[in-house]
Symmetry: C2
Subunit: 343 residues, 2 copies
DNA sequence: CTGTTAGCGCGTTCAC
DNA sequence: GTGAACGCGCTAACAG
């Protein structure tokens, strides 16, 4: 009972004022770094805060200054399992970190159903966050429109190719460049008879990567050598290899839209009796953790997902600080080819 | 300009009241499901809300009713990379989902430094969330104490072995049971000369798993056959195998504290020329995604991380609904041994 | 059943 | 430099 007054009730700004013998208006000024506070008062207030263990109430502060110090990270995925992918998790973690260091809390919202999308739209309308990070793996427009009425900054995780009514600044990887580079890497080795396994059609990244491949192939490009997968998973890679079977003996390599697909392709190729990379070279995209766990280790295009999350939030932070950023702004993050064993 | 009144200014509850021709107190009652609203008024209010696109302001509501409809998921990790682990990511995703369905937003807080821990403590004091999920992979007490003054429900992700001053309900896996079972599985095959690779000492799960191993081994347990790793990573498994090298030819199997370590052990064993499982059987723990990607596929103890996140949040939700839960409550989630190729 | 009113805790003019 | 008062948008308790 001799402990420092077991504060059973909430201590408010008034309590602090009383303790410091000033009006609570002064305390408020002190808290918000206003110039007009005598050093003497400041000292007393600091002491009072210390003693009373005062912490400003977040809701009240939000209400008064119309800011929440919260940023929403909205992930749009078909399956919630996507959140386990290293690229998503890394971007989320780093965004969280960056925003946290800047004094913002990050709330993660998952849009994977009608219901959840509806809930999120409601939330956005209720002004519960100061800004939004839209991490979308599909190009579904339903979500992008909920920000129209909330006049708050938004940053997208992918550059949209088609021009929608509304647009926001985006941070994306140089997908085309990456795929182009790794294709050239194969070509330079004389492996010119190449096939391509494309990612799902709904994904912008998917088409950009295909575009990079086309670019590198130039006149050699042959659409009959492209398999269009329905998703980014291993199984799709296996199906692709099956599809390619008739022409396999005429192929020098297979360029894949991502690592998972590449793994599937390699697995199936092996079952068909082909050696990788001796008979057929295979490349991936992402440089996900499994790329180095495979045998052979994957030659792939590396993209830094941590960087993705960081740059997205840095851009958002600048907007939150009042900087005006053109809606059309697109920051392209570099990719890098990592040569290992599979090609 | 003929559009439905381009609402440039925030529409408040008063606007709705005016439109519906009732006092805003009535609108508030309507919004909060209060009985005492005539069906006629209700209809008019509903219409007004519809037309005005009204959405209650979250901060104001939080301030008035002293609830935020927010839950904080606090992850305590040494390295932020831990967030990439499937078990962590899955628990987070499922908790998010479960809480979201119940109308709560989940904000993720990462405690990985002095600074961040300090920030989080501040936040908790500022009453910014209604409840807390503490997902801790270490048994650092610094965080557990920040909830003392915030009189809000807390659920832990691990049962603490040592009795701390404060304690909260916890949801954990039957770690000991799992490791005990899989060890018995080996013993039953006549593989009785077993070594153990233990996880890092700071982790309760780590010691619980070791305990399960001891339990199964009974009198056969020999501490010189235990390697104590510093972390949960692949490299530690490799080091363990190196350490065990002199006794390898006398071993039937190696039980590992988790999948990563098991993979490291297998890799190193191969380099030494041992076949798995023919010469030496190896088991993991977690059943992480890589367990099936390895060759040989890992025989391991499966734990459902999604379930972990779900049960934790369900428990928290019940507490948020007013149910009183004993601080000492520990819900143990079942584990299951999955036999594949490595043992 | 409904209108009125007093807070919730804090920011922000204003005079002084 | 400082205090008083009002407002943020909404809830809840109280009359009526």
């Amino acid at each position: 009972m001799s402990r420092t007054a077991i504060a059973t009730k909430k201590v408010t700004i008034r309590d602090v004022a009383r303790l410091a013998e000033v009006s609570y208006g002064t305390v408020s000024r002190y808290l918000n770094g206003n110039e007009h506070v005598s050093t003497d008062a400041a000292r007393r207030i600091a002491k009072a805060i210390e003693e009373s263990h005062y912490t400003p109430n977040k809701a009240a502060r939000s209400l008064a200054q119309q800011r929440t110090s919260t940023v929403a990270f909205i992930v749009q995925v078909e399956s919630i399992a996507t959140l386990l992918q290293a690229s998503t998790a890394a971007a989320m973690a780093e965004a969280n970190q960056t925003l946290g260091d800047a004094g913002y809390q990050m709330v993660t919202l998952i849009a994977n159903s009608e219901d959840s999308t509806q809930r999120i739209a409601q939330l956005v309308q209720s002004d519960f966050a100061d800004g939004y990070l839209l991490f979308s793996l599909s190009e579904d427009d339903s979500l992008i429109n909920i920000f129209r009425t909330a006049h708050r900054p938004v940053v997208l995780s992918e550059a949209s190719d088609r021009s929608t009514a509304v647009s926001y600044p985006a941070v994306d990887f140089a997908n085309a460049d990456g795929q182009c580079s790794i294709t050239r890497y194969l070509l330079d080795q004389g492996k010119i008879r190449l096939a391509y396994v494309c990612g799902p059609g709904y994904s912008p990244s998917s088409s950009k990567r295909l575009h990079g491949f086309k670019q590198a192939m130039g006149a050699y490009f042959d659409d009959s050598h492209v398999y269009y997968a329905d998703d980014w998973e291993i199984a799709s890679g296996e199906m692709a290899a099956v599809e390619f079977q008739p022409m396999l003996h005429d192929l020098d390599g297979i360029v894949c839209a991502n690592d998972n697909i590449a793994i599937g392709v390699i697995n199936q190729l092996r079952r068909f009796g082909y050696r990788v990379p001796e008979d057929i070279a295979v490349t991936g995209f992402d440089d996900s953790p499994i790329a180095t766990m495979m045998d052979p280790k994957l030659t792939t295009v590396r993209q830094d997902s941590w960087l993705h999350g960081r740059v997205m939030s840095q851009l958002l932070l600048r907007m939150l600080h009042g900087e005006v950023v053109d809606h059309q702004t697109v920051k392209l993050l570099p990719t890098e080819i990592v040569t290992r064993q599979s090609a």
